[in-house]
Structures are given as C-alpha cells and as structure tokens.
C-alpha cells in the first residue's frame, strides 16, 4: 500500500524521469566518462555548442513524437524544413516583415502536415509510403520555387538573432526554442485530451474507435504538428545560417526518428513520450560532439553511430520492457514488444 501511495503521490515529472531511466543513466554515464576522458567537453563554449546542435533535430523530433505515438511515421520533415526555410527567406527578400514571413513559413509546414494527414487518415495509405511520397514531392516544390538556388537574406533582425545564433539568458536561442517546444509538447501530451487520444490511437486503434476517439481529426493534427515543428526547424536553420536552402534538412527525418526511438517511444505507437525524445536528441548531439572532439575520422563516425543506435535502442527497449512487465501478463506483452516482424 505504501508503495502504491508513493506512486500515486510522486509528481509525474518524477515518474517521467523514472520511466526514462535507462536513457538518462546512459546519458549521465556518458557525461561522467566525458569528464574523465574528454575534459574539453565541459568547457562552457562546447556545452553551448552541444545544446545548440541538439536544437534543430530536437525540434523536428518533438513534432515527430506526436506522429510516432499514433503508430505512424513522418519521412517528409526534412523537405518540409527546406521548404519553410526558403519560403521565409524569399518572402523577406520580397520585403515582407520578418514576423509575417515566419508565420507564413510555419503555415507552409502545417499545410504539408495536413496533406500527410489526408493521405494517411482519408486515403488510408500507410504512413511510411505516404510521407515518402510527400517527401519527394515537397523537395520538388522547394527546388521549383527557388529554381534550385539557396536564398540568402538579411538575418540581422532581433527575431532571427533569437531563433538563430543569439543567446538569451546565457543559453543559445535555438536551444531555448527547443526547450520551450519540448515543454509545450510534454504538457500537451499529458494534459490535453488530444494528447491522450494519440496514445489511444497508437496503442489500441480498435478500442479508440469504439470509444469515440476522433481518430481522423487526431491524425490530421498529429501530422500538422509534425509539419509545424519541421517548419519551425526550417525557420531556425535559415535564421541561423542567413540563407534558406532548398537542399537543407537532408537527413533530418532519419535523425529525428532515431532520437524519438532512442528516447523510448515505440515505432508501433502508444508507448513513449516527449521527455524521452529530449534526451534522445541530446544523446545524438553529445555523441556527435564527442566523436569530433576525440578526432574520430568521419568515416568511422558513421560506423560508431550505427553501433550506438543499436545499443541505445536495446537499452531503451529493456527499460520499457521492465517498466511494462506484470507477472501474469508476460505472454501478451512479450508478443507485442518483441514481435520482430513489426516495424
């Protein structure tokens, strides 16, 4: 009883951390190992870099989390990032006020998300292939509107400074954006009915239908959020670099998915959350920073990265497994979690 009481009383943030303990433990272990072997890592300038570098993929991954929780996937985020970046750059070059240009760029992302939502929820095409198609198509659009060329623009304004390279309260602006987005996502997933619908749809689509969960609307919103986050990442990228490039965001989709999965969210949907994603994105950034600091050749970095992904997912899976294991339920659970034939 005491145990239960405890569980009942501990604030959910504590529980969240408890649920993601493996990611966090690896993370902390990594941080300690770094302190010993790569002291450079702890120089404030480097830490700020890591924070900054986690931001873009982090924001995309937070949006992706919503889609993956429904059991879907969004491969189109990279091209959405590019399209929103060039949209903003071109509008500003046409003399539009920064704020409005940014708003329109973000709406472009929402638009792509709605198209994805339509293909998935209404045309009922599997999310992988649906968003693969929009990925290809949107790249075409980004190239078309720019005639293929990068779009430099004047990113001297306050807002670009914040979104791009500036520091606020000693933290890099983009990292602050990442944190704000994360907090909103974490709260939305927990405190909004919409957030709970995502889990319902991803975990038990049939039960969701019977319970009257607005599946279609929820899917539309989830993909729109993913598109919005990708567009925000596009705006951040362009602000930072002072150029909107139609070729930006190349591997953002795979990196974001990796961050989400490392963070303990299952590609089958219904399990996971944004807290894990934050750590997943940070882990990827630390890994890459670390390999650079250690001077590992770029070729070998890829091999190492592949191995680390496997390891991290393995550990994240074990955490999820431990957390979800009830005695009686062993049979069913292991069927769901360990079914190798499901993506």
């Amino acid at each position: 009883m005491t145990e239960i009481k405890l569980a009942g009383q501990s604030p959910w943030i504590v529980k969240s951390v408890r649920n993601n303990w493996v990611t966090i433990v690896i993370f902390v272990a990594l941080l300690v190992a770094l302190a010993i072997f790569v002291p450079t890592f702890y120089q404030p300038a480097n830490l700020l870099n890591v924070a900054r570098q986690s931001s873009i993929v982090g924001v995309v991954a937070i949006g992706m989390t919503f889609v993956i929780l429904t059991g879907g996937i969004d491969l189109s985020v990279g091209s959405t990032l590019a399209l929103s970046g060039v949209t903003m750059a071109m509008l500003i070059n046409q003399g539009m006020v920064a704020g409005v240009a940014i708003l329109i760029a973000l709406l472009v992302g929402v638009g792509v998300g709605i198209i994805n939502g339509f293909i998935v929820a209404d045309l009922k095409i599997q999310p992988f292939i649906a968003t693969l198609a929009t990925m290809v198509a949107i790249t075409g659009v980004a190239l078309r509107v720019t005639s293929g060329g990068p779009q430099p623009f004047d990113n001297a304004g306050e807002i670009f400074n914040f979104l791009g390279s500036g520091n606020v309260l000693g933290l890099p602006g983009p990292f602050l954006v990442f944190l704000i987005v994360s907090v909103i996502a974490i709260l939305a997933l927990r405190y909004l009915a919409f957030g709970r619908y995502l889990y319902a749809i991803g975990g038990s689509p049939e039960a969701a239908r019977l319970t009257g969960v607005p599946t279609r609307r929820t899917l539309f919103i989830a993909y729109a959020i993913s598109g919005l986050a990708a567009a925000l990442a596009g705006v951040m990228t362009a602000s930072r670099l002072g150029v909107g490039a139609p070729t930006a965001g190349g591997l953002a989709n795979l990196d974001a998915i990796t961050a989400v999965v490392i963070g303990g969210t299952s590609l089958m949907g219904g399990i996971g959350g944004a807290v894990g994603t934050v750590f997943g994105a940070l882990l990827l950034a630390v890994l890459s920073n670390l390999m650079n600091l250690l001077g590992i050749s770029p070729f070998d970095q890829q091999t190492v990265k592949g191995a680390v992904i496997v390891l991290a997912v393995l550990l994240a899976m074990q955490a999820t497994r431990k957390r979800t294991s009830g005695r009686r339920d062993k049979r069913n659970r292991s069927e769901k979690n360990s079914d190798p034939s499901s993506k």
């Binding site: 239960i4 569980a7 009942g8 959910w12 927990r190 405190y191 909004l192 009915a193 709970r196 889990y199 319902a200 975990g203 038990s204 049939e206 039960a207 969701a208 239908r209 019977l210 319970t211 009257g212 969960v213 607005p214 219904g270 399990i271 979800t324 009830g326 005695r327 009686r328 339920d329 049979r331 069913n332 659970r333």
Partner: protein, 493 residues
C-alpha cells in the same frame, strides 16, 4: 414511457441480412436479455445503438424522441453506454485514465489529481477494488471487465448495453457482475444484457428478446418462459441436450505430465491421458488452464517438471519438437493463433505437416486436392479454397485448424476452448469430430469454460484452481456443481 424503443431496424452486409425489421422497447430500470445463436445479429443491433453502424432502415427513440446516432459520441451524449464483446480499454493507460477517458475532468486541461480521486471514489462506490494508478495491462480479466462496466456507468449512462460480459468470467466474478447489474437497475438504469448462459438470464432479466437469423423470434417477460422454450426460439427446433458419450475402450498412457511448474502460474501439476481418452480441464478464468496447455505444448518455458509423450520426454521451449513428438494444440485465440489469416484455406491446411516433416517444397495441386478432401471430410463451408481463410466463419475456421492437425497426424491433441464463439450447430459437429478422433485412438485434452461441454466430452475431469490441480473427477458421474465447488477453491477449506 419506454426509455428506449427501436422500430423496424434492418441492416445488411453485402447483401446478407444481419438484422431484419426488429422492434422492441425497454423501460427505465428494466433488465432486458438479448439472446440468440452466434451470428443471430445481437452484436449488430448493439453496434447500431452505440453508433458504430448505421441502420439501413428503422428508427430509434429515446424517451419518446426520435434520435440519430451517427457515432460513438452521439450515443454517449444520449446516455447510451456499451460494454463490447471485445474490450475497448487502453492497456498502456492507467485505470483512472481509462475510466475518465474522453470525459476528462478539468476545463481543457486535464486535472489528473481530480481524475485519480474521482476514479477511486467512483470505483469504491461500485464496490470495485482496483488500484487506480495501475496500468490496465496489469489487471486481471475480471478486473478489466469490471472496469469496462464502470467506465460505462461513469458517463452517467441511462441505458447500459452489455455484450456477453460474463463470457470471459467465472464464479465469483460473474456473481459480482450480476450484482452490479442488479444495482444499476434499482437506480433506474435500463440494461440490455447479452448472454449465451441462460442460467444468468433467468436469474437477472425482467424481459427477453430472442433473435434468430436477424429476425425477432420471441419477446416477453422472463417469468413466462422456460429454458427449453427459449432454446427452441433460438434454434428454431427442439434442442437435444448433448449426451455424455465417451469412448470406453481406452488404451495405454500416451501423454504423461509430471510435476509441471511455471513460476507463479502453475504449481507442480501431474496428469496422464490415455489413447482414446478425453481429459477435460475445468477451472475459472485465470486458473491457469491455457498456461498449462501452453506449458505442455512447449511454447512457454517451464520452471520444473517433465512432459512425456509415449514414454519419451519432450524438450521444452520448442513447439516444433513437441509437434514432432506427436502433440498438437488448437489454441484459444483462433484468429491470431490458430489460423494464418491472410493465407488461403488450401495453404493453411498443410502448414503443420510441412513443419513437422521438415518438408521444403510445396505442391499446389496436391495442396488443392488435400483441401478438397478435408472440405468434404469435415464439411467445411467454403466457396473458394484459394481465397484467404479470413473469409470463413468462425466455426469453419476452427475446422481448418483441426484439419491442419489431422493432416499432420497427432497422438495427443489439446483443444483450448474449442467452441468459443461458435454456434450450436457447428458446436455439435466439433463434438462429433472429437469423439471420432477418440475412437481412432487419439489422446485428447479439452479445456473449456462451459461445464456442459466438459461433462459431455470427458472421461475424466481435472479441475484447476489458482495454478493447482485441486481435483480429478470421473466424467461420467461428475456434476456441474461438483466441478464449480473445486474450481472456486471450495474443496480446500
């Protein structure tokens, strides 16, 4: 004024009439039993009332007003709550959340503290003891069922529809549930109750409605009917109670299980089955019957004990080795565990033989011939053997599962709930088949929650309670009451 009235409801699927011109009413505080064979249209009717299907014709009135129920939300707003045959709970979410799901407390922002408190208080008020912070995944079946009902009530429903709520329950749990339903009715809630267990119907309902092939074949107060009358309305013929008919000439021991244990689930169970004999296994849900079958079969790892088939110990942990030793299992969950749902009927049948003999190639022509043979032999109703087995009805799918084992050749066959969800006609055919197999010298284990079924088929009956084998009874002399007494642990006190 009736709380709910339906007039002339009809619904057909791809030309097949699932429901034809059905009308009835239900008053506040009334418990209405909805009965009928499998496929009679009960679930279809319920799905219409809960907004999952639109009727082709007919109307629904609530408190005298015509209403349009076009989705689960509408039904909820109209005060109709449904507890489905398949549970509609979210296993990854907590009890509290499942209870309040969709009706979250708080304005836009969910107030979890309130949710937990309300959920706890609400469950207590129903006399249901479940820790609200537990995840539903970790609940027992009975707890899940209770929660499912509590969920309907939580929405202040005035009409509660229960689609076979007791099918998966046993003993005390059934009693608890029935008490709950009675309590509801006392508070003025109208209850529509679907059950295949007529005893429950007589103990609970005020009135009944019988469906057969989508048509209403009878309705009236329960006090003015009896068991046999209802059955004849359901099946349209006089019901012949299944005879206790078992093979008397049993042979040598074929299957021998010694001190089999699975951590926390089974405690040192021993049993033997002889050639030509049926061993019935009875027990309440959760007693460990399925676990026992799976442990013998070798899918779940055992912690102690040994299984011998024809004197040879079989290796645990590999179904294939058990299959090769001569064992077969007709599993509980037909659709996901028994058949290969996306494969054709013809492709399904030879699967076990292929595995058992380690065959590497397939001969489509022979496969088709084989399928034709079994189609005739087991009278499987199928139009196109090359079409996905998913298109067959439950009973026919079950025959395909049996065909797989017969084709492969088995010495011992374990059937776990072989007739669950199967209608009376097909049921009898399957009983017949089991008896024939016995006569051919197979050793058979039948696990069933339906005591008449166990009694009708078994030479001996093993009763499980909480993972212990608490009694072994003679199939010829045992009674339902005896079995129940052991199953609920009564014999131990």
């Amino acid at each position: 004024m009736p709380r709910l009235e339906v007039r002339g409801l009809s619904k057909s699927f791809l030309g097949a009439n699932a429901l034809q011109d059905v009308s009835f009413k239900i008053m506040p505080g009334e418990v209405l039993a909805l009965i009928g064979e499998n496929g009679a249209g009960k679930s279809t009717l319920i799905r219409i009332l809960s907004g999952a299907h639109r009727p082709d014709a007919g109307e629904v009135l609530i408190d005298g007003d015509k209403v349009d129920i076009s989705g689960p939300r509408d039904a909820e707003n109209l005060g109709i709550a449904t507890v489905y045959q398949e549970l509609s709970l979210f296993p990854e979410l907590s009890v509290a959340e499942n209870l309040v799901f969709g009706a979250f407390p708080g304005r836009g922002i969910i107030d979890w503290r309130a949710a937990k408190r309300e959920a706890g208080e609400f469950l207590t008020s129903l006399d249901v003891e479940i820790d609200v912070t537990k995840r539903v995944r970790d609940l027992s079946i009975a707890e899940k069922q209770m929660l499912e009902i509590a969920k309907a009530l939580y929405r202040r429903a005035q009409i509660v529809i229960l689609d076979e709520p007791t099918a998966v329950l046993g003993g005390e749990d059934v009693d608890h549930l029935l008490a709950l339903v009675q309590g509801l009715a006392k508070h003025g809630v109208s209850v529509i109750f679907v059950s295949h267990r007529l005893n429950e119907v007589f103990g609970l309902a005020d009135n009944y409605v019988v469906l057969k092939d989508g048509r209403l074949t009878g309705t009236g107060p329960i006090s003015q009917t009896n068991h046999d009358d209802l059955v004849s309305k359901m099946v349209g013929r006089e019901f012949a109670r299944s005879e206790r008919a078992v093979n008397k000439t049993v042979g040598d021991v074929v299957l021998e299980v010694e001190n089999l244990s699975v951590d926390g689930v089974l405690n040192s169970i021993s049993l033997t089955v002889r050639a030509g004999e049926v061993l019935g296994i009875a027990g309440l849900r959760g007693a460990g019957r399925t676990e026992l079958a799976r442990a013998i079969y070798g899918v779940d790892p055992i912690t102690a004990g040994v299984v011998r088939i024809k004197g040879l110990a079989v290796a645990n942990g590999s179904p294939l080795k058990t299959i090769r030793a001569g064992l077969g299992l007709v599993p509980e969950e037909r659709k996901t565990q028994g058949i290969f749902i996306a494969m054709s009927t013809a492709a399904n049948i030879p699967m076990v033989k292929m595995l058992k003999r380690g065959l590497h190639t397939i001969h489509p022509a022979e496969e088709r011939k084989l399928a034709e043979t079994y189609k005739t032999k087991l009278s499987i109703k199928v139009t196109n053997l090359a079409a996905a087995v998913a298109s067959l009805s439950g009973g026919n799918q079950q025959k395909v599962v049996l065909a797989k084992w017969l084709d492969a050749g088995v010495d011992v066959l374990i059937l776990d709930e072989p007739t669950r969800g199967i209608d009376i006609g097909a049921k009898q055919e399957i009983y017949q088949l089991i008896r024939e197999l016995c006569n051919q010298g197979l050793a058979i284990i039948v696990i069933s929650s339906e005591l008449p079924e166990v009694l009708a088929l078994s030479n001996r009956i093993l009763v499980l309670h909480h993972g212990d084998a608490v009694a072994e009874l003679d199939g010829q002399t045992a009674t339902e009451e005896q079995i129940m007494l052991h199953a609920v642990g009564g014999s131990r006190k």
